[in-house]
C-alpha cells in the first residue's frame, strides 16, 4: 500500500491544480468577459481584470472585494470579484462609496478620521475596513496631515506618517478610477456630453488663470487634471502598426472641438454602462461581446494580451505552488519522526515539491511571456525566482542523497519566498514597465538572473546549515554520516554560490560601465552583492585552510543567510543610491526578526559538542544500525 500511497496523494494535488485551470462559465453577468477588455494603465496594456485586482491589492491587500467584512467566513459574507467592484466604482460610484474596501490598521489614523476602531457586527463594522463614505467627512484633516507627513524625509517617517501617505495615495487612485469612463459612464452619453464639456471649459479657464497668476477655481482645476490621470480606454486607429490608446478626455475634447461624434469605444462603454445601471445582464453581455467584436482585427494584439493576462490572474500559479510547498514541508517534518518506517512520506514530499516546481515553472514562463522579459525585473519577481532556483537546487540534492534534506530545503525556501512575493505584490502592479536604463533584456537576462541565482544558492547553503544545527542540537537524528553529507552539500552549494554571485556582481559592474562609464560606484546594492561574494570566498578559504570544520562551516553558512538578506532587502531600506526603492517599516521589522533568529542559531551552533543531543554517547551505537536510512540512499523502507 505504501508503495502507491505517495502517488495517490500527489495525484490528488495534481488533480486540484489541473481542475482549477478551467474558467467556470458565467451564469448571469459576463463580468469575466468585461474584465478581459484591454486598457492601458501604468504604461502598459492590461485587462480591466488586472487593473481591478492590483487596485484592490493596494486598497485592501486582497484581489477580491469583501462587502461584508464583519461577517465570519461561515456566515458567508458577500464577496465580489475585482472586476465587478471596478464596474461599480466606474458606473455606480455612489454605491461603491458605501463598500468598505479601504483597509486601515493604524490606530492613530483611525482616530484622526473618527473611524470606529472596534468590531461590532450589529453596526456592520469589523474595525479594519472602511468605505469612502466613512472616510470622506474628514478628508480635509487627512489632507492637512498628509501634507505635513509628506514634508518629512522618507526614512524618518513613522508608522502613522506612512499610513497617512498610503491612505492619501489610495483615495487618489480610487477617486480617479471613477472618472475612467467619463460621460460614457452615465449610460446617457449624448445628454451628459454638454455638461462634461462645460466642466472641461471651466477647468481649462482655471488652468489658464493659475498660469497667469490670477485667482482660479481650484475645484474645477482639480477635476480637470484628474481627467488626465485616468487609465487609457479609448483605442485610436491612427497607425495600424502602432495602435495608440487615449484617455476619454483626450479623445472627447478634440472630437467636440471639430464637431465629430464620439468614437465607437465610447458608444460601447455607454451601452455597457446603461445596461449595468438598468440591471440588464443580457444587454450588458451583448454590449461587451459587440465591443470585443469591434476591437477584433485592428486591436487583436491587445485583445490577445489582455485575455492571456486575465487567464494568468485566474490560475494563480504562485499561490498554488505555495500551497504545494507547504504540503511538502508538512510531509517532510512528519517523516522525521520515524524516518525508518515512513519513507513513503519522504517520497510524497519529493513528489509534491516536484509538482510545485512544475506549477512554479509554468507560472514563471507564463509571466515572462506576458511581460516579454527575462524572469527577474523587480523585487517581486526576484523573490519568485529565488524560490524557483532554490527548489531546483534542493531537488538536485535530493536526487543524490535521497534523505529528505533536499526536499526540506526546497519546501522551506519555496514557501517562504512565495509568501514574501505575495507581500511585495501589495504595492501594486508587479509587471510595471522598466525605466530607461533598465530597459534592456540582455542585462536583465544575464546580470540580474545570475546574481539572483547567487542569492538563491547562498540561501540554500544557509538553510542546510540551519538543518544541521537544529537536528544536531535538539535531536539524535544527526548521525556522523548525515553530518558528513550535510557538510558536503553545504560546501558544494557554497562553491556554486561563489561562482554565481561573483559572475553576477561583475556583470552588474559591466552593465554600469555600459550605461554610465563607471564599473564600480560603491552603490549600496553593489556593495551588498560584493559582501556576498567576499563572504562566500571567505568561507571557502577558511575551509581550505582548515580553519573551520563541520560546525564552523555550518555557522558560517548561516551568516551567509544574514549577508544575503541584507543585500536583498536591507540595502533598499537605506534610502540612498540607484537601487533604492521605497520601503515600509513592516519589512524592516521582518528583516530584523530574521537576522536575530539567524544570530541565535549561530550562537547555538557554537555551543560545545557535549550539549548536542546527536553527539552524545548513546547515539553512537544506534547510528550504525537503526538510522542509516537518513544518511544513505534509502532502499529498506519500502
Amino acid at each position: 500500500m505504501k508503495r502507491w500511497l505517495p502517488w495517490v496523494i500527489v495525484a490528488v494535488f495534481a488533480a486540484w491544480v489541473v481542475g482549477s485551470l478551467r474558467v467556470p462559465p458565467e451564469k448571469n453577468w459576463a463580468y469575466d468577459q468585461f474584465g478581459r477588455l484591454p486598457v492601458v494603465a501604468n504604461g502598459r496594456t492590461q485587462p480591466f481584470d488586472s487593473l481591478a485586482r492590483n487596485t484592490l491589492l493596494q486598497l485592501r491587500e486582497k484581489q477580491t472585494a469583501n462587502l461584508e467584512p464583519w461577517k465570519d467566513w461561515n456566515e458567508k459574507p458577500r464577496i465580489i470579484s475585482a472586476t465587478e467592484w471596478l464596474l461599480g466604482v466606474m458606473i455606480k460610484p455612489e454605491l461603491a462609496d458605501t463598500w468598505p474596501v479601504f483597509r486601515i490598521d493604524n490606530p492613530d489614523l483611525k482616530g484622526l478620521l473618527d473611524l470606529p476602531a472596534d468590531p461590532d457586527k450589529a453596526k456592520h463594522l469589523d474595525g479594519k475596513h472602511y468605505s469612502w463614505q466613512q472616510i470622506q467627512p474628514k478628508l480635509s484633516d487627512l489632507e492637512r496631515e498628509t501634507v505635513r507627513a509628506g514634508k518629512i524625509d522618507n526614512s524618518k517617517r513613522g508608522p502613522y506618517d506612512q499610513a497617512l501617505i498610503k491612505l492619501w495615495n489610495n483615495q487618489t487612485i480610487y477617486n480617479r478610477l471613477k472618472y475612467t469612463l467619463g460621460p460614457a459612464g452615465s449610460g446617457d452619453l449624448d445628454a451628459r456630453m454638454t455638461a462634461y464639456l462645460t466642466k472641461v471649459e471651466a477647468g481649462r479657464n482655471a488652468f489658464m488663470a493659475r498660469r497667469e497668476g490670477k485667482d482660479f477655481d481650484s475645484a474645477a482645476l482639480g477635476w480637470f487634471s484628474d481627467q488626465f490621470e485616468t487609465p487609457l480606454i479609448v483605442p485610436v486607429e491612427k497607425d495600424a502598426a502602432h495602435p495608440q490608446w487615449a484617455r476619454v478626455a483626450e479623445s472627447v475634447i478634440p472630437a467636440a472641438n471639430s464637431g465629430a461624434t464620439p468614437g465607437f469605444a465610447l458608444q460601447a462603454y455607454n451601452r455597457i454602462s446603461k445596461a449595468f445601471l438598468n440591471d440588464n445582464p443580457a444587454e450588458f453581455n451583448a454590449a461587451v461581446a459587440d465591443y470585443q467584436n469591434q476591437l477584433a482585427g485592428k486591436f487583436d494584439r491587445e485583445l490577445k494580451k489582455s485575455a492571456q493576462e486575465q487567464y494568468f490572474n485566474h490560475i494563480e500559479p504562485f499561490y498554488k505552488a505555495m500551497i504545494l510547498f507547504l504540503g511538502a514541508l508538512l510531509f517532510v517534518l512528519a517523516y522525521w519522526f520515524k524516518p525508518k518506517q515512513w519513507e513513503w512520506m519522504r517520497v510524497t514530499a519529493v513528489g509534491l515539491v516536484g509538482l510545485a516546481l512544475v506549477v512554479h515553472t509554468a507560472g514563471l514562463i507564463f509571466r515572462m511571456y506576458l511581460e516579454g522579459r527575462p524572469p527577474v525585473t523587480n523585487l517581486y519577481s526576484s523573490a519568485i525566482f529565488i524560490g524557483w532556483g532554490a527548489t531546483v537546487l534542493g531537488l538536485i540534492l535530493e536526487r543524490f542523497w535521497r534523505n529528505s534534506i533536499g526536499a526540506m530545503v526546497s519546501s522551506i525556501i519555496g514557501f517562504t519566498t512565495l509568501i514574501i512575493a505575495h507581500h511585495l505584490a501589495l504595492t501594486g502592479d508587479t509587471m510595471e514597465m522598466m525605466r530607461a536604463v533598465l530597459d534592456t533584456n540582455f542585462w536583465l537576462a544575464t546580470h540580474v538572473v545570475v546574481v539572483t541565482l547567487g542569492y538563491a544558492s547562498t540561501f540554500v547553503a544557509g538553510i542546510l546549515a540551519v538543518i544541521f544545527i537544529v537536528q544536531g542540537l535538539f535531536t539524535r537524528a544527526l548521525t556522523p554520516e548525515l553530518a558528513k553529507s550535510l557538510n558536503r552539500m553545504i560546501y558544494g552549494i557554497i562553491c556554486f554560490a561563489t561562482l554565481f554571485s561573483f559572475v553576477g556582481t561583475v556583470l552588474g559592474g559591466i552593465w554600469a560601465d555600459q550605461s554610465w562609464g563607471r564599473f564600480w560606484g560603491w552603490d549600496p546594492k553593489e556593495n551588498g552583492a560584493l559582501i556576498i561574494v567576499l563572504w562566500n570566498a571567505l568561507v571557502l578559504h577558511a575551509r581550505w585552510g582548515g580553519l573551520v570544520r563541520e560546525r564552523g562551516l555550518a555557522n558560517m553558512a548561516i551568516v551567509g543567510n544574514i549577508v544575503t538578506s541584507w543585500s536583498w532587502f536591507g540595502v533598499n531600506m537605506l534610502g540612498i543610491g540607484l537601487h533604492s526603492y521605497g520601503f515600509t517599516s513592516a519589512a524592516f521589522t521582518w528583516l530584523m526578526t530574521f537576522v536575530t533568529s539567524q544570530i541565535i542559531l549561530v550562537v547555538l551552533g557554537c555551543l560545545p559538542k557535549t550539549m548536542w543531543l546527536s553527539f552524545r554517547e548513546p547515539a553512537a551505537q544506534e547510528s550504525q544500525g537503526g538510522r542509516s536510512s537518513a544518511g544513505k540512499p534509502a532502499t529498506a523502507a519500502t
Binding site: 492601458v40 494603465a41 501604468n42 504604461g43 502598459r44 526614512s155 487609465p231 487609457l232 490608446w245 484617455r247 543524490f400 510595471e432 514597465m433 525605466r435 530607461a436 536604463v437 530597459d439 534592456t440 542585462w443 558544494g492 562553491c495 556554486f496 561563489t498 561562482l499 561573483f502 559572475v503 561583475v506 556583470l507 559591466i510 552593465w511 560601465d513 555600459q514 550605461s515 554610465w516 562609464g517 563607471r518 564599473f519 564600480w520 560606484g521 560603491w522 552603490d523 549600496p524 556593495n527 551588498g528 560584493l530 559582501i531 567576499l534 563572504w535 570566498a537 571567505l538 578559504h541 581550505w544 585552510g545 580553519l547 549577508v563 541584507w566 540595502v571 537605506l574 534610502g575 540612498i576
Partner: protein
C-alpha cells in the same frame, strides 16, 4: 627574516583575515553613506589606507580601521605571494590559477581606473556645437585674451585649489596679480534690493556690484553640485584695478582692460578641450503611454574631426554609448521639456578610462576558472557516488 615575511604574506590565514576585514569595511562604508553622502564615504572608506578617527577637540587623528587601499593591497600581495609559493602548472590546479589571475587583473584594473580615469560632461541644447567637456566636480578660474587666430582665445587656467588657498596668485602669463579676498565653497547669488540691501556690494566692478552673495553649506548630495564664489582683487603694475565677484553660477566672462588688451575672466566648470567638435542634432525622450516613466533617452550628434576628415552622425542612448578616440560618451540626463520656448537639451557623460576592458577579461577568467574547478569537483563526486 625574508622567509618569515614571505610566509606571512603567503598564508591562507591572511586571506581569511583580509576577506573578513573587507566584509566589515564594505558593510560599514555602506552604512556611512547615509550620513556622509556617496562621495565622501567613498574617499574616506574605500579610497584611502586607513579610516581615521578624530577624538572630539583633540586636534589629531588616529587610524582605527584599515581602509580599501590597504585591505585591497594586502590581498593583492597575499594572492601573488601565495602563487609564487604554491604555483603548479597542472591541470588539476588550472581552474584555481585562472581564477586568481583573473582576480589579480580585476584588482589591478580597478586601481588603474581609480588613478587614470577622468569623468567629464558635455551639456548642450539642440543645435549647439561644443569642442570641450566640463568636469562634474572641479572648477577653474580662467583669464582669456584674443589669440593670433581670431577664432581662438589664449586661456590661462587656475585650478580651484589655488583659489581656495586665498592668497596671491601670480603667473608669467598674466601681467597682473590676483589677490583672493574671499572664497566660499558654495554660495548663492541674488540681485541687490534697492531698499533692503544697504551694505556695500561684494565687489566694485563687474556684475558683483549689483549682487548679494550668501555663503551656503557644502553639499554632499550626488544630485547637487557646489557652486563656489570668490571675490578677487586684481593688481596691475599701476596698483589695484578694483574687485570682482566670480562665481560658477554666472560663468559668462567679465571684461576689463589692461594696457591695450581686453581681458576676460570667469570662474567656471573645468574644461577639457577636444581635438574635434560635437553637435547635438536631436533629442528624443520617450515615455511609456499615459505616464511620465522614461522609456528611452536618445541624443543624435554629429562629430566633426578635421584632423581625420571625419564628419558623421551617430545616436547615443541608454546602454549604448559611443566610444571615440579613447573617450566614451554616455547618455546621462535629458529632462522632459517644461517651458514651450525652451530648446531641448541633453547631458552626455564623457569618460576616459584606459583600463575599461579589464573587468570584461577578469570576469571571463574568474567565472571560467571557477567553472572548471567546481565542475571537476562535481564530476569527480558524481562518478564516485555512481561507483559506490
Amino acid at each position: 627574516m625574508f622567509e618569515r615575511v614571505f610566509k606571512f604574506f603567503s598564508s591562507l590565514r591572511l586571506t581569511v583575515v583580509c576577506l573578513a576585514l573587507a566584509v566589515v569595511l564594505v558593510f560599514l562604508g555602506t552604512l556611512a553613506q547615509v550620513n556622509e553622502g556617496l562621495y565622501l564615504a567613498q574617499s574616506r572608506w574605500f579610497r584611502s589606507f586607513f579610516i581615521w578617527w578624530e577624538p572630539a577637540g583633540a586636534g589629531f587623528k588616529v587610524p582605527v580601521f584599515p581602509a580599501g587601499y590597504l585591505i585591497g593591497g594586502v590581498l593583492l600581495l597575499n594572492l601573488i605571494a601565495a602563487h609564487l609559493k604554491r604555483f603548479k602548472l597542472t591541470w588539476k590546479k588550472a581552474g584555481i590559477n585562472i581564477t586568481h589571475a583573473g582576480i589579480i587583473l580585476l584588482l589591478a584594473g580597478q586601481l588603474a581606473t581609480d588613478m587614470l580615469s577622468r569623468e567629464t560632461q558635455v551639456h548642450f541644447s539642440e543645435g549647439e556645437t561644443k569642442n570641450y567637456a566640463e568636469s562634474s566636480g572641479r572648477n577653474e578660474l580662467v583669464f582669456l585674451t584674443d589669440a593670433a587666430d581670431p577664432k581662438q582665445d589664449e586661456v590661462v587656467s587656475i585650478p580651484e585649489s589655488l583659489v581656495k588657498n586665498q592668497g596671491e596668485i601670480r603667473s608669467d602669463k598674466l601681467p597682473f596679480t590676483v589677490r583672493v579676498k574671499e572664497y566660499h565653497i558654495n554660495a548663492a547669488l541674488r540681485p541687490r534690493g534697492p531698499m533692503v540691501d544697504k551694505g556695500p556690494p561684494p565687489a566694485s566692478n563687474g556684475f558683483g556690484a549689483g549682487l548679494v552673495m550668501t555663503p551656503a553649506p557644502e553639499t554632499r548630495s550626488t544630485d547637487e553640485r557646489n557652486m563656489p564664489s570668490a571675490i578677487l582683487e586684481l593688481i596691475g603694475p599701476q596698483g589695484s584695478l578694483g574687485t570682482w565677484l566670480v562665481s560658477t553660477i554666472m560663468s559668462q566672462p567679465q571684461e576689463f582692460n589692461l594696457g591695450n588688451k581686453i581681458w576676460r575672466m570667469a570662474f567656471r566648470w573645468q574644461r577639457e578641450y577636444l581635438p574635434y567638435s560635437i553637435q547635438l542634432l536631436k533629442t528624443t525622450h520617450d515615455v511609456y503611454p499615459g505616464t511620465d516613466i522614461p522609456k528611452n533617452y536618445q541624443s543624435r550628434v554629429r562629430i566633426e574631426n578635421p584632423a581625420r576628415g571625419e564628419n558623421r552622425e551617430v545616436d547615443i542612448y541608454m546602454n549604448n554609448p559611443l566610444r571615440y578616440q579613447g573617450l566614451t560618451y554616455y547618455q546621462y540626463q535629458m529632462p522632459l521639456q517644461e517651458g514651450e520656448g525652451e530648446r531641448p537639451w541633453s547631458v552626455l557623460q564623457v569618460v576616459r578610462n584606459p583600463s575599461w576592458l579589464t573587468p570584461y577579461i577578469g570576469c571571463i577568467m574568474v567565472g571560467g576558472g571557477m567553472m572548471i574547478q567546481f565542475l571537476m569537483h562535481l564530476v569527480g563526486f558524481i562518478s564516485k557516488r555512481r561507483t559506490a
